[in-house]
């Protein structure tokens, strides 16, 4: 425990996870004295999750993550869904419609797999760079509450630290949210326990077996392959750099309150998967070695429970970020974006409140409103197809199971994500149209970075001294194109700004249109993918060669001095 801590800060953040460190980065960068308190000795080692961070988190989340070089483990350019109808006869239906087309895949991808520990440590380092203090090995055991308002935190040794605002990013258990009387403890039927196995595997084998796809498995109860009971449980396999993550999750209780014997269930699922699933048994089993076995609880489908959804996200002096505010919806793999988006909003609202000298419940309720109006957060905590999927499993209706898997993790997902994505897209270019070129740079930079993290060519990864002539012609063209686009976008900003408003009503209609038209464009897209898989191989390889050979700075990587 750190003795050099001051007695008071503008902002105290509880938890150095994805949300807490992003919120701290925001408030510290804007000159507020900011302290982050983390209970783990090393950041991230108490957060367990098999992680695909969806791309919309990177596109529309905090700028320092988008423009930085975070430690990603592998780009994800496709999802393969296995619907097991009879495992003993090896009858499996495959839906792999959701893939990014070549030649841009896997440089342009749907998301990135990452380890929480490395990623959150990187975020914390970035927050420290802009002035935040981070203290580890310290539990916040209580809150200082005066006149119904939170005024600071109590540490495990009884020390009090005052804060104008406490940003609570303690994760899904929400012990402090419950203590503050803001939220209720969640019922076990909306809580899942995830059993995670981390296997080491040679990168070449991961590349060959998984490529850049994650795999989901769906099955009926009696198959005992993937946990089908409760709200939307699943089984997922994530390819990492030189490893893979296998995660099965199961609700703690059923709707009728029956509690699951999890030890038995998880053992059965794991055994059946490794012994009966053909691609695991034949391809993975011989090449993978168990490195870590962990588990963690998280809340799911909180958004579908009206009572939980209506619980507040703030009180006088305190804002709840990420999982602590129930913004998690892991079944769709999107807890991290929600934590990032809410952290940015919390940071800004905290700043406004401190500037206005008003940290009352009334003033801070603007945070609740903004969160509920955020297109992606609102969508991710309410999307009904996850609930429907669960009904399909209960009714043993293969047709609807296929339909809802397709709508959640297949091409059909585009139909209902399109409206929120288009709305945040419009609001992002309204703020700064050059975000378009930062996205392009980000994709190339991230791909290059992950490639070099797993190759022997470490020399090309660190700080670089760039001399004229070191770059290839392709790199000069890339830099010129980005520079030119930035110029055009800046000049035409007023036009883009006005047009973005004109498109807003259209954004609301897009879901209906996309849903209606999916039958038309999906077969075309699937055919295109088939063609590109064979014809664009050369182009894809050339693009990858260009990306990995280029200088990091070509894609906007900043030089870093050690802190």
């Amino acid at each position: 425990m750190d003795c050099t801590l001051r007695e008071s800060y503008d902002v105290v953040v509880v938890g150095a996870g994805f949300g807490g460190t992003a919120a701290a980065h925001h408030t510290a960068r804007h000159g507020l004295s900011t302290l982050v308190i983390e209970r783990a000795e090393n950041i991230g080692e108490k957060i367990i999750s098999g992680l695909t961070i969806p791309i919309y988190g990177f596109l529309f989340g905090p700028g320092f993550i988008r423009d930085g070089t975070p430690p990603i483990e592998r780009p994800v350019d496709g999802i393969i869904n296995y619907i097991v109808t009879d495992i003993d006869r090896e009858e499996i239906v495959i839906d792999d419609t959701l893939r990014f087309p070549k030649p841009f895949a896997p440089i342009f991808s749907f998301g990135y797999n990452a380890y929480c520990a490395d990623f959150c440590q990187w975020q914390a380092d970035e927050a420290v760079r802009v002035g935040a203090e981070v203290v580890t090995k310290t539990v916040v055991s209580d809150l200082i509450i005066e006149g119904g308002s939170v005024r600071g935190v109590v540490l495990e040794d009884g020390r009090n630290i005052a804060a104008k605002i406490v940003i609570n990013a303690e994760g899904s258990q929400g012990l402090l949210s419950v203590k503050a009387g803001i939220r209720k403890k969640y019922p076990p039927r909306v809580i899942s326990l995830a059993d995670t196995y981390d296997y080491t595997m040679k990168k070449g084998d991961v590349d060959r077996i998984f490529g850049h796809s994650i795999r989901f498995l769906w099955a009926w109860d009696e198959q005992n392959m993937a946990p089908p009971l409760g709200y939307g449980n699943g089984l997922m396999v994530w390819p990492y750099g030189e490893s893979l993550h296998f995660m099965q999750d199961q609700c703690l209780a059923m709707d009728d309150g029956t509690v699951q014997n999890l030890k038995k269930r998880f053992e059965t699922y794991h055994k059946n998967v490794v012994e009966k699933l053909p691609w695991w048994r034949d391809d993975v089993e011989a090449k993978a070695e168990l490195r870590a076995h962990t588990w963690q609880c998280f809340e799911i489908f909180v958004g579908l429970d009206d009572e939980l959804r209506a619980m507040p996200l703030s009180t006088g002096g305190m804002l709840l970020v990420g999982d602590a505010g129930g913004l998690e919806s892991t079944e769709l793999c999107d807890g991290v974006p929600a934590a990032w988006f809410s952290a940015e909003i919390a940071g800004r609202v905290a700043r406004e409140a401190i500037e206005a000298g008003d940290v009352s419940e009334d003033f801070l309720s603007r945070y609740d409103r903004e969160i509920r109006n955020h297109p992606i957060i609102a969508w991710s905590i309410t999307a009904p197809h996850r609930y429907l999927l669960r009904n399909a499993q209960q009714d043993h209706d293969l047709g609807s199971l296929r339909k809802y898997v397709h709508a959640g993790w297949g091409f059909g997902a585009l139909a209902h994500t399109v409206s929120p994505l288009f709305r945040v897209f419009l609001s992002a270019i309204r703020q700064d149209p050059r975000v378009l070129t930062s996205w392009v740079r980000m994709f190339f930079r991230n791909y290059r970075h992950w490639h070099h993290s797993y190759s022997d060519d470490v020399s090309s990864c660190g700080d670089e001294v760039i001399r004229p002539g070191d770059r290839s012609v392709g790199e000069y063209i890339f830099i010129f194109l980005m520079w030119w686009s930035d110029l055009v976008l800046t000049v035409f900003w007023p036009v883009l700004w006005t047009m973005s408003y004109l498109f807003v009503p259209f954004a609301f209609l897009m879901k209906a249109i996309a849903g209606f038209m999916v039958w038309l464009y999906e077969p075309l897209y699937v055919r295109l993918l088939g063609r590109l898989d064979t014809s664009a191989v050369g182009m894809t390889e050339a693009l990858i060669r260009f990306t990995v050979k280029a200088r990091a700075a070509t894609f906007g990587a900043k030089k870093r001095r050690e802190p």
Partner: protein, 88 residues
Amino acid sequence: MRTTDTFPGVRWVGEPELFIRIDPKKCTGCGGCLKVCLAGCFEIVEKTARVRSLEWCMECSACWYVCPQDAVEFSWPKGGSGFHTRFG
């Protein structure tokens, strides 16, 4: 003895004090906490659950969520003790 054979990749640091407790007055012995705990931390003695050992506790809090009587008192182990992993 805790070994990495049983829980590979995880290491326990320090000797956590009893950060999870069961209030015997509230507990009805329903066994919910026993069923969800993958680390086998609980036992039922005379129709009441009690903590056997938190040696392998992964701080998942499933026991706290599942108890219908609110008999599980849950807090975090102090000072970064408890389980550590890098692969999460």
